[in-house]
């Protein structure tokens, strides 16, 4: 897979959808492509977050440590971003993510991510927009839940 294909995938992710392709290319170029074997962990719950991952190929399981062992709560596949909350908020990982199949990811370090936002404020605005959108959705969901009580 060449860098141009990676840029295509990045553009399908909402945070990056409206960002200039040249910037995405820079991000892809400056990022490492990391391959995981099935069962290998990208990161574990409680660790400090140092990078976000974009799935290029394969699927990953999201596991939460429960009293009776790890519990699979979600599954992520191509064109999805993993672990961006931990780097944005600087909080420990809220779940463990491991490869379910052979998994190819683009590893975007926190340092690179923040530098990109610093250098290209329009990207920061885009991130804000997506996050605000998510917050609005969550709030709406909360309202529905409360209304249903």
């Amino acid at each position: 897979m060449s860098i141009d294909q990676e840029v295509e995938i990045l553009r399908r992710i909402p945070i990056f959808a409206k960002i200039d392709p040249a910037k995405l290319k820079l991000m892809a170029f400056a990022s490492e492509r990391v391959t995981y074997k099935p069962g290998q962990a990208l990161f574990r719950q409680g660790e400090r977050g140092e990078a976000a991952f974009i799935v290029l190929e394969g699927t990953a399981d999201v596991l939460i440590e429960a009293s009776d062992g790890p519990l699979r709560v979600a599954s992520l596949s191509e064109n999805e971003i993993i672990g961006e909350i931990a780097i944005l908020c600087d909080i420990p990982r809220t779940a463990t993510v491991q490869a379910a199949t052979e998994l190819v990811t683009l590893r975007i370090t926190a340092d690179l991510f923040f530098r990109m936002i610093m250098d290209f404020p329009e990207m920061g605005v885009e991130v804000m927009r997506v996050l605000a959108h998510r917050l609005e959705q969550t709030t709406a969901q909360l309202r529905q839940v409360q209304a249903a009580r």
């Binding site: 860098i3 141009d4 040249a22 290209f120």
Partner: protein, 902 residues
């Protein structure tokens, strides 16, 4: 040291000086003969004086007894000579002339060689004596001197002395004789004119030295300011971090400029005065002929002096000024070197130099230390007589484990210096087994006792050298005969008053470390590394180190076995994709294009990865393979991508450094090139632009940069170019590159690269960890770990150990001290930069190993004192408490206060 350089020179070179003097005297008759001969050749040989008719002969080399007429009243002929005709006479005289020239030349050669050797020998002696004194400086003084000033003195300031020493006695005698002869001749011709000449000479020799007095003073200042400049430069380098961290470079520039300005003014004033003196000197020298012409002329006109005598006087005077002038110059030089000499030795004259007997190479460490360490009223004052340690009294067994605690400035550091015999007490006494520590020879303090400070120094060289440094007290076994100093070299050393120890001898006292010789010392070194927890670090150094397979074939073989074993192990674990091996016939996508072309480790800089784009051989190969145009095209793709993605970044952005193929300075140029290519294609580019583009692809790594430049077809062509390059290199420069061969050890590559024999695949999660573990297991299986550590012992620690981190430096110093198995280990915050747990582990392990052997340790963290038999608590230079941990914590004590303050 002798304060007068003449006495110093005379004492150490008397016989040689006399020999030179005798040779000079012996050379004089020949010199005068050669002066006389040309006249004889012209008169007799050419003009035929005495050959009245053709065929007439004259005796050649007739020889009368000197002064025969005066003694016997008639000439006494010793040799009648050989009768020769005129042409034969001419030839005989001419050959005599040639012979005399040769003899004179040889005399000159011998004299100059002897003078030079004498000078160099004395310089060597002087330099050694000065350096020797540095080795005998007591520590407090050593701390106060500037290393670069000391170095300048020994290296530069005494240098002119070497040139002068050979001339010290011979020159004044020789020149003085010449001048006296000329003077005498003038006196004989005309007493009054002689008197005039003598008066001018006297005036000259009175006036000139007076004029030069200020120059000498300036010379002294010049020497001091230059020395201080050297000291300042040393300081700027030592304090480099502070200078740059505080943005003080301009302050330093101002300081340097001020010093250089001062030196300029001193030097310029010296010049001015020097040339003024020259002017006066010349004037005085010409004053005499003036008087001869004017006064002598008048005398001649009035008939009171005959013209012949006047001409003879003037001719004789010709020989007078130059020896006089040279004598004055010599005198100047004498004063100059005398000042230099005084200025230098002044810095090396200390009343409290360490007695050489204490450091003698013949001293014996004697029996193991036994009995008690007793301090009574032990006091140490600093240079301002302020007390650092005040009247300390304690008694402890030599084999006790003693902790010393206190705050910094409590005097505990100074206490350890005195215990190790490094600093002598100002008053009171410190005795071990009833003997004063300050009087113990260094053979005892340096072998029976080991001292380790917090900032231990490491010497440039390998870890092994640094570990063994503590065992090199005297030459124990003579060196291999081809390395040994020759008897001539030893004799020369003796003549220059240098010691006759051979640096190439084996100095290592293996027995002191418990080893039997060079073969099993390494085991002990590795054991010590394990004790101080440095073994893993050295293992890592070893992996990045290289070996010479011809000298260690078994190690190289082992590494090759490890290469095969690692491949198997990775295959078995399903990790074969983590390392992409070097294969002669396939392209390695995890290596750069440069590395793929070279397919080996460069042995010369011109074939290093970064230099390959400018390498002529590589360019030829690319042209032959028709790859030049492809490289330009690849360059265009790279340049386009770089221009596109780095376009909006400000110059100096860290991304350029980290990721770009193109520096921020060059980006505008490439932008222009890309624009030109877009408009008119690569054909429109000038050679310089093509060269720039051509250079870009060399550092391109397909797996990492992912621009899709090396497809299968390109990979094949690059492999073909690789083969062509290797053929050409084997033909033209077989030693430029060590090629990768699956079945051979690569001497230019590190052990790790030899074992891996490939590149770690990019983007395989956790690859480094997996490979590192597999590597360690393989090496353990094959029992190669020790081999790797041995290679690690050859790791060069850098200047002052700069290639080690602070923790490694402290551990290495401790290992060095432990290696010599001292009776008493004095550690002064020796592992203070380790973390708490590490300090605890190390102290516990060392105390455990040293049951029955003494340890005195000053601790930064007082609670660690629990591990020791007994504790000394210091405050303000006083010993305030002594007792076991239980005793001191069982009641209200200063020790509890210290622990609580932690």
């Amino acid at each position: 040291m002798e304060p007068n350089i003449f006495k110093y020179v005379w004492r150490h070179s008397r016989s040689e000086q006399v020999a030179i003097l005798l040779i000079v005297l012996a050379s004089l008759p020949f010199y005068y003969l050669s002066l006389n001969l040309p006249k004889q050749i012209v008169n007799e040989g050419i003009q035929g004086q005495g050959f009245d008719q053709p065929g007439a002969t004259q005796p050649f080399f007739a020889f009368d007894l000197p002064f025969g007429e005066a003694v016997f009243g008639h000439a006494v002929r010793l040799f009648d000579g050989i009768d020769l005709t005129q042409p034969d006479m001419l030839l005989a005289l001419s050959f005599s002339f040639l012979g005399l020239v040769l003899v004179n030349g040889i005399f000159k050669l011998v004299i100059n060689t002897r003078k030079g050797r004498l000078g160099e020998r004395l310089l060597r002696r002087l330099r050694f004596e000065l350096s020797d004194r540095i080795l005998r400086f007591p520590l407090p003084h050593l701390r106060r001197v500037k290393p670069s000033e000391m170095a300048t003195m020994i290296k530069d300031e005494v240098e002119p002395l070497g040139g002068f020493i050979g001339d010290a006695f011979a020159t004044p005698l020789f020149l003085g004789g010449q001048a006296a002869t000329a003077m005498l001749f003038i006196m004989v011709q005309s007493f009054w004119l002689g008197l005039v000449a003598a008066a001018v000479v006297l005036l000259q020799s009175y006036l000139i030295p007076r004029l030069r007095r200020r120059i000498l003073e300036l010379g002294r200042e010049r020497q001091l300011t230059a020395r201080q400049l050297a000291g300042r430069i040393g300081e700027i380098i030592d304090g480099g971090v502070e200078v740059q961290a505080h943005d003080a470079t301009n302050y330093e520039r101002a300081d340097l400029a001020a010093r250089l300005g001062r030196i300029f003014h001193i030097r310029f004033e010296i010049y001015q005065r020097k040339f003024f003196v020259k002017f006066v000197n010349n004037l005085l020298a010409q004053l005499t002929p003036f008087m001869f012409y004017a006064g002598g002329g008048l005398l001649a006109i009035s008939g009171r002096l005959d013209i012949g005598a006047l001409v003879a006087v003037i001719a004789a005077y010709k020989d007078l000024p130059s020896p006089i002038k040279e004598l004055i110059d010599w005198d100047q030089q004498r004063l100059d070197v005398q000042i230099k000499y005084e200025q230098v030795i002044d810095q090396f004259q200390l009343p409290q130099l360490i007695d050489p007997a204490r450091q003698s190479v013949d001293n014996d460490p004697g029996p193991p230390l036994a009995g008690d360490i007793v301090a009574s009223a032990l006091t140490l004052l600093d240079e301002n007589d302020q007390p650092l340690v005040r009247s300390v009294n304690f008694t402890a067994g030599v084999t006790d484990h003693l902790a010393v605690v206190g705050q910094s400035g409590s005097g505990m550091e100074q206490l350890t210096y005195m215990l190790a015999g490094l600093v002598a007490p100002s008053s009171g006494a410190l005795r071990i087994g009833g003997r004063d520590v300050e009087r113990l020879p260094s053979a005892v303090t340096g072998r029976r006792i080991a001292y380790v400070g917090a900032n231990a120094y490491h010497f440039v060289g390998s870890l092994r050298d640094n570990l063994l440094y503590g065992l090199k007290h005297r030459p124990l076994r003579p060196p291999a005969s081809e390395q040994a100093l020759s008897p001539a070299a030893l004799a020369e050393a003796r003549r220059a008053g240098n010691p006759e120890f051979d640096i190439h001898a084996d100095w290592v006292d293996y027995a002191a470390a418990g080893a039997t010789g060079a073969d099993d010392i390494t085991e002990h070194l590795i054991e010590m590394l394990a004790v101080v927890e440095l073994k893993d670090d050295v293992y890592r150094f070893g992996l990045t180190g290289t070996i010479d397979p011809s000298r260690r074939p078994e190690a190289a073989e082992g590494i090759l076995r490890a290469r095969a074993a690692l491949m198997d192990r990775l295959d078995d674990g399903g990790h074969e994709d983590l390392v992409v091996h070097f294969e002669a016939d396939s392209y390695n996508h995890n290596a750069s294009i440069a590395e793929n072309l070279l397919f080996g480790t460069p042995r010369v800089p011109s074939f290093a990865s970064g230099a390959l784009a400018r390498n002529a051989t590589v360019a030829t190969v690319l042209r032959e393979e028709g790859l030049l145009e492809d490289f330009v095209q690849m360059g265009v793709t790279i340049a386009k991508t770089m221009v596109e993605i780095f376009a909006d970044l400000p110059p100096g952005h860290p991304f350029f450094e980290q990721f770009s193929f193109i520096g921020d300075d060059d980006l505008p140029e490439f932008r222009a090139i890309v624009a030109r290519v877009d408009k008119a294609g690569t054909a429109a580019l000038d050679p310089a632009a093509r060269q720039l583009l051509l250079g870009l692809p060399f550092s391109y790594v397909e797996a990492r940069h992912r621009l899709g430049l090396v497809d299968d077809a390109m990979a094949q062509r690059l492999v073909a170019a690789r083969h062509r390059l290797s053929e050409r290199l084997e033909r033209e420069s077989p030693n430029a590159v060590a090629f990768y061969r699956a079945d051979a050890y690569n001497a230019a590559a590190s052990l790790q690269d030899n074992i891996l024999f490939g590149r770690l695949a990019f983007g395989q999660a956790g690859a480094e960890q997996v490979i590192g573990d597999a590597l360690a297991e393989v090496l353990d299986d094959l029992r190669l770990r020790e081999t790797v550590i041995e290679v690690g012992l050859d790791f060069n620690v850098g200047i002052g150990g700069s290639r080690l981190n602070a923790v490694q430096r402290q551990k290495l110093a401790l290992a060095r001290a432990l290696l010599k198995r001292p009776d008493l280990l004095v550690a002064n915050e020796a592992i203070s930069v380790l973390d708490g747990a590490g300090q605890n582990r190390l102290v516990e392990r060392i105390l455990d190993r040293r049951r029955g052997q003494g340890v005195i340790w000053t601790l930064q963290r007082p609670e660690m004192a629990a591990l020791f038999d007994s504790i000394l608590v210091m405050r303000d230079g006083r010993l305030v408490e002594q007792g076991s941990y239980d005793e001191l914590t069982g009641r209200d004590s200063a020790f509890k206060g210290l622990v609580a303050a932690e």
